[in-house]
Structures are given as C-alpha cells and as structure tokens.
Symmetry: C2
Subunit: 327 residues, 2 copies
C-alpha cells in the first residue's frame, strides 16, 4: 500500500514534473530563505520556500495555472469556474486572464470587499450567491450549464495537486539533502502535492503537515481513517479552515507521517517571528508548520527541514491606521 501513490491517476512525480514544465514561464521561481535565529531556536536547518512571493501572493497560482493550461482549446474557450472567496479565486482569475479565457467566480454576497477587489483586479467575473455551501454549489452548476465552463476545484483535483507540488519540486532541486518537508494543511492540496513531489524525488523523505489545533480535522481524519469535516472556522489561519477532499485524503493517508498541531498563540508568535527576523510578510496559515516545529516534540533536531510558506496575503491596515505606527 505504501507505494501505491502512482495508482491515483495524475498524482505522481511525473505529473508534478509535467506541471512544472507547463507553468514555469508564468510563475515566479520563488527564493528560499534561511534565518540564523530560527535555526538556533529549532536546533535544525530550516529552508523556507517563499510562496508568499508567488504571483497573487500564494502558492495557489501554481495549481490554478496548471489547471488552466491543461485544458484543451475547446474547453478553455468556454472558461473556468470555481466557488472560492480566497487565494484560489484570485489565482484562477489571473491564470485565466493569461490564457485569455473567462474565469467565473462564485462568491457569497458577504465576502469581504478586499477579496472581491482582488478577483476583479485580475479580470474575474463574479457571481454572487447566498452564503451557504448549497447556494455556492447551485450557483456554480448554473454557471456551468449556461457557459460550459470547466469547474476547477480549489484542491480536490489532480491538476491542482500536481501544480501545488511544483513548489516542493523546486525546493528539492535548490536545496540538497533535505530530511523533512513540511506544509500547512487545509483542504490538503498543497500538502498532497508536496508529499508526491517529496516521495517521488526522495523516497525516504519525511512528510509532516502543520494544522491549527482549532481546525484539526485533517489530523482527525488520518487518525480515524475517514474524512472528518472541518468544524466551524475559528482559527486565525483562515486559509486552513476547509475539509479534506476524497483525493487529498487518499494521498495524505499514503504519504504523511504525522500532522502536527499548533495553538493560536503559537501560530501568531511564529508569524511575528518570521516578520520581525526574516522581514517577510507571511499570513497566519504560512506560519503553522514553523509554530508546530517550535512547540511540538517532533524529534527533528539536527535535521534539514524544508517548509513551504504558503502565502503572504495579510490585512496590514492595523499597522497603518494607528498614529505613529509602522515606524
């Protein structure tokens, strides 16, 4: 069973390599940062793959770009559709604009203005719906019927997973002899892609997920052997509030050694540590693996650890509203 990853169609190292070939002229090859102070605190050598510097500010652009570029011309001409209000929506809109095709984004009526603006700035066509899962799916179906657009799920899609895996693929090419790969887990697309790239590249590399303790549905799912749905969202790591999908669940079961949990204050402290010491802007979701590494006994002292920093889309207005702030 351990070696059957290839059985999941389109979810193997070849798919990741093909995705990288497809998207590499459109994405940023993001840099890898290290930090002496963080290495000292972790007693390990930590290599951060800075997907906060990726286009649209998150790894999501890799998967979206791969999905859009994987369509044949007829499919592409009819456009793509998704229901998401986060980074995936913005990423899909930009990828579609680059191919010159429409992106239909279904968003709940109460989505924050800043997320609408991001999608609109990349040329996405927004359809509003009621803020329920049923309404979102119904609105999506309607768009598909009316336009023939292809649904691009934010994570439960082999094209998305292969695309997200290209971040780890680059990291493994740029840093030698990694012992461990870590990534945050929400819907599981990034961690699935990371796992496939990692084990395809180096079969004995250890794959560890990071998840907020307040949104530990992936850890529970692996423990119970079934997809446990996400609880109502309370964590500050707003990118990690979703449940696993059938495909990501199957991949994570095969590949992931453990999912380490981080408390809210640990996530916030890790985010602050990276912003203060590394001088990079990261979102709370991106800080979850480091938070877990700093606070859980994962037995990784002396190891070479690659961490995918998922994104840097943070509301910075508190810094710029207080008098005398940001100086």
């Amino acid at each position: 069973m351990e070696k059957s990853a290839g059985e999941i169609v389109g979810c193997d190292l070849d798919a990741v390599c093909a995705a990288h070939d497809r998207i590499r002229h459109f994405i940023h090859r993001t840099p890898i940062f290290t930090c002496r102070a963080i290495n000292d605190r972790c007693q390990a050598a930590v290599f951060f793959k800075c997907e906060n510097f990726q286009r649209v500010g998150a790894f999501k652009f890799r998967g979206a770009c791969n999905a859009v570029l994987s369509l044949d011309d007829d499919e592409a001409a009819r456009g793509v559709v998704t229901h998401s209000s986060g980074n995936h929506a913005a990423a899909l809109a930009l990828a579609a604009r680059m191919r010159g095709i429409p992106a239909y984004i279904v968003m709940p009526r109460n989505a924050p203005a800043i997320k609408r603006q991001a999608v609109e700035s990349y040329g996405g066509i927004i359809t509003e719906c009621d803020p329920t899962q049923e309404a979102r799916e119904a609105a999506c179906q309607l768009v598909m019927q009316q336009t023939g657009a292809t649904l691009i799920h934010p994570y439960n899609d082999p094209r998305i997973i292969a695309g997200q895996g290209t971040a780890a693929w680059e990291l493994l090419h740029d840093v030698s002899e990694l012992d461990v790969l870590m990534a945050p887990v929400g819907g599981g697309g990034l961690l699935s892609g990371t796992a496939i790239a990692g084990h395809g590249f180096k079969p004995d590399i250890r794959i560890i997920g990071g998840e907020p303790a307040l949104a530990d549905d992936a850890a529970q799912s692996l423990r119970e052997g079934r997809i446990v749905p996400a609880r109502p969202p309370r964590t500050i790591a707003d990118g990690l509030r979703t449940s696993l999908g059938s495909l990501t669940f199957a991949i994570l079961r095969q590949h992931v050694e453990t999912i380490a949990l981080a408390e809210e204050d640990e996530i916030r402290d890790a985010q602050r540590l990276m912003m203060e010491r590394m001088k990079i802007v990261v979102e709370p979701s991106a800080a979850v693996p480091l938070a877990a590494l700093l606070h859980r006994p994962l037995g990784l002292h002396g190891q070479r650890i690659g961490i995918i920093l998922s994104g840097g889309n943070v509301d910075l207005s508190p810094l710029f509203s207080a008098p005398g702030a940001a100086s």
Copy 2:
C-alpha cells in the same frame, strides 16, 4: 570639480571594492527584488536592493563591519565606541562581537527598551547618558579616555561610507545597465557610498537622493552650499532625522543630481505598497525614494532605476495586538 571625488581620502571606488573584499564573508549578499505592479505605476523598471534582509535588518551592518575590520590589532583590542541609539549601534555591536572586541554604546537614558535590547543581544556594552547631544559626546569622550576605544561615527567616516557603498556595488554587479541609483538620505552615509560606487562603476549614472519633506535639511544644504542642521525630528522616517556631516556633505555636493522630497503620507503609502505587493517588511526610511519616485516629476519614465532599501526594522506590534489582526 566634478571628477575630484577621489580627492576625498578613502572615498572612491577602490575603497568600496576593498571594503567589499573585507566584509563579504560576514554580510549577506542581499537579493534584488522587482515588482510588476510598482513598475507599472512608476512606468520604469525598478530594482530594489533588499538591505532590509541584511544582518541586524539594515545596510548599517556593512559600514560597521568594514570599520571594525579596518582596525589594526592593537586598535581593535581596545574596542570601539559610538553614540547612537539606532541601527548603527546594533550593527557596531554585532561587528565587534564577530571580531571578539568590546563595543561601547552610549545611549540616552530615555532610549526605547527595544533598541537597548537589540544592542545588548549583540553583546554591546551600554553607557547611559542624559538625552542631549552634549551629554552624548561627553560620555563618548569619557569612554574613549578610559578604554582607548576607537570612535566609529555612524556616517561621517570614510570606512563607514565605503562599507555602505558595497550595497550599490553589489546591485551594479547583479543588474546590468542601470540608469539611476536612488537611496534615502539622513546623515548621508548610504547615499555617499552609493554615489561613489555608482559613479566609479558607471560615470554617467544618475544619483538621486530621497528625503522626507519634513526633514529636508540635506536638500537645503545642497541648495545653500552649507550644512543646514536638521530640524526637530517629526518625520515617521526615523532613520533620516540626522544632519549631514562634513564628509558626506562634500561627497553629495560632487555627486548628487537632486534630492527628491516625499511627504509623510506618500512615505507611508509607499511603505504599505511594498509590504502589500512585495510581501517584504520595510521601515519608513526605506520607502522614501519610492515615495519620491511615485509622486515627484523626476523624468525617469522608461529608465532602469536601482533603489537601496535601507532597512526593515519596524515595530510590528500594532499588527499583533488588535483582536483578529494579522489574518
């Protein structure tokens, strides 16, 4: 007169090259970032030399490191001293620790705790004094008499200027065909070093300073042909509140085409733009040249512009104190 820069002893391209040879194994070779959205807004190709990623979070480490490594063994053994409460103090403390010599830092009694901690964390020995210029200089003299330590001025010193010039030297090696170099100006050490490296490397490169309109003493000084002292500090660009020195004034007169001014809200907006779009943490002082470029008619459309981002030491606590912030 235009070509007499070499007459100022120790302030020419050779000095910058020698400084780079001396310090290169101790500093970070910082990366150069670009940003599509900023290029679009400036209608130019802007290359940011990210000294916010430098050790101690600012370019200041380059000059301090060069000064400390320039001392002969006897001088070095007696240590170094400065009166500064900012990045220079932390940079000098770290450079001295690396050479295994004492760094005496004279600080006003009312200096912020966070600045004291930075100096102490790098092993600096703090001497407190009253918060006046006279008290600082007197305390410095006393330390020098008691210890024989060498005074390292934060900017009016050829070793410091040559060290700061290594940032531009790297930028000019890494990016071809730059038309313009920009740097913020406070005491003038960074802009002087940038100018010497720039004109030494490419005689027709244009050197432009950026200064807060609320601290426009360098612009006034160049206009009036004498050092106009800085006014009481009011700008948020707290690194730029100092007056020029005799040496930096002489160099800037020879090399600088203009000093462009930026208003406070323009500085803040430019800082926010870099943090939101480039996902990097920069201090207000670092944002001053971009603010001027965005808002003053400098005639740089279509040009290739290198900007030295001076540092990233920002108090981020407003982001982490508001409930629900930083997500």
